[in-house]
Amino acid sequence: MSGHKTYVRDGEPVDVRVTFEGDRARVHVGAASYEFRVVAMAGGGVRLVTDHGAHTVFVAPHGKRQQVRVDGHTYDLEVARARGAQSVVGTGVVEAPMTGTVLEVLVKVGDAVDADQTVVVLSAMKMEHKLLAGVAGTVQEIGCKAGENVDQGRVLVRVEASKT
């Protein structure tokens, strides 16, 4: 499972990409890379464990921004684009981020979609993953159907980006 989000820091966009393997998260923040063991806390927070200690994290939406509280310091982050917080492939090619079962296909060929619109719901690792169109445009192809088992990387939906 992986995800991606762009924040604005000091006026510059910063890409943050995260990949999960088991309980490990590898995060790229711009050119830097970090790895954590992720543990959920009763009550809604998350602990990020490293070899040198651990960080306590709470997150919440804050209007169009995002609040994150790390070790008792709150940061109010500016989000660059509404590209979607869930598993996103931003090219218009919606691939299965991991092997799983398609729960729902929410669009059909020819539908107009927004970048943030969920097009497929995938069940994997017993969790539900919402896959977003990634770009605004028109659905060109549907590569799966509800109930089908799909391998990682399988193209589930193709969206042609609309010209703006």
Binding site: Y7, P61, V70, S123, M125, E128, H129
Partner: protein, 508 residues
Amino acid sequence: MPSFQRVLIANRGEIAVRIARGLRELGIESVAICSDPDHDAPHVHAADRAEAIGGQTPAESYLSIDKVLDAAKRSGAQAIHPGYGFLSENAGFARAVRDAGLTFIGPPPEAMLALGSKEKAKEAAIAAGVPVVPGSNDDRGDDAQLGKEAARVGFPLLIKAVAGGGGRGMRLVQNAAEFAAALAAARREAKAAFGDDKVLLERYVHPARHIEIQLIADDHGDVVSLHERECSVQRRHQKVVEEAPSPLVDDDLRQRMGDAAVALAKRVGYRNAGTVEFLVDAANKFYFLEVNTRLQVEHPVTELVTGVDLLHLQVHCAAGGKLRDVLHGRDLRPRGHAIEVRICAESPEHGYLPAAGRLHVVREPVGPGIRVDSGVRQGAEVSVFYDSLLAKLIVHAPTRLAACARLAQALRDTAYLGIDTNVDFLRRVLEDEDFRAGRLRTDFLDRKPELARGPQAPPPDLALAAAVIGMHALANTTASTGNGTTGNAPASATWQRIGALRLWEPTR
């Protein structure tokens, strides 16, 4: 022991929750009241039962004497606790409660009236021999006479417009040489602003500390001082941090301030809990400010260092009980150190802008010496209608430094997210070197604007990484339970989710 069977709480938020808990411990049924937006607010569910009184704004609900009295009658309550704010210092309400045959848990309306205006309160203080800020309010248009008065009042002094407000017509005068010119300027400004050039003179107490004395008084002539609270850390007369004992008060000053407060209370026939506020100058001279005729927001610090429960004492006194029955032989001297911070929905980083919205995350600290008096719950909407106070975080520790460390740590363990709060600001105050050293003055925050501004550095990589991980983690723990759930009793997946919020583990 005299008491009540049922008491209505004419308030909301943390103080209503705290009163409901206290009443339950005393074996007294509590009745909450609620406006429409407070339908399922924490204070409603903290009480044994609730009376909906409708309305959105305070005026339509918690400030409506008729609605509150109706609710009290409907519920069969014998007494009303007003909390703080709202109707708590309204003598008309106290009288209406009494006229309705109910007990007002607070002072009699006569005492409230005697202390209600600053002018009257000052007269009562003078009559009781309590020092007041030296001044002169007898302007007959004779500038030479005023010059003599100024010399008597002493410098530095303030010239204020009698009709004034908002600082217009006000002049700070450092010495006699400046007086005549400043007086002329103040008169011109006052005339222009208010059409009245009368002025008054008042000694400028600076640097000053705000220190107040907690009193409790019964119907039998006993008035007991529960000593001081230090409340100098303020912003525009709004207290931000309160503590007891004051790091700046010694036994002698404590005794003299307590005696003064008791004398004033006796003079006006005061009953129940009340607080006498003083300004204290650099030479430890104290001057009467005003009396708060109610339980105060900051009462917990007094409870922690004296070992009394002020709510219990209020109920005891209101029911006609004698203080000597419950306080006799008790050592009430301050022990250890207690500090309270007020957690508010406001952004010090943005000019203290008030915040409203949904509290997506509420994480309140627990542990030895930590007390949280909270009036909110996770998921609740913080309304623009009411005070911005979300909760009070109070610690008690053997020493002031240990209390600072405990409170700073408790603030790090605290999270109220979804709206702006002053939690980070409070932590910065607690970690400030002057604060930790006890160098407190009423202009403490004015002199340290950087505490409100906060660090100007961009968020570190860790914050960005944590934001993305945290978001994904939460989003995915709400994942589908899918099929395969056997139907016997709640699905184990359900329990896992609501329970452990276990991440990255398949639900069974």
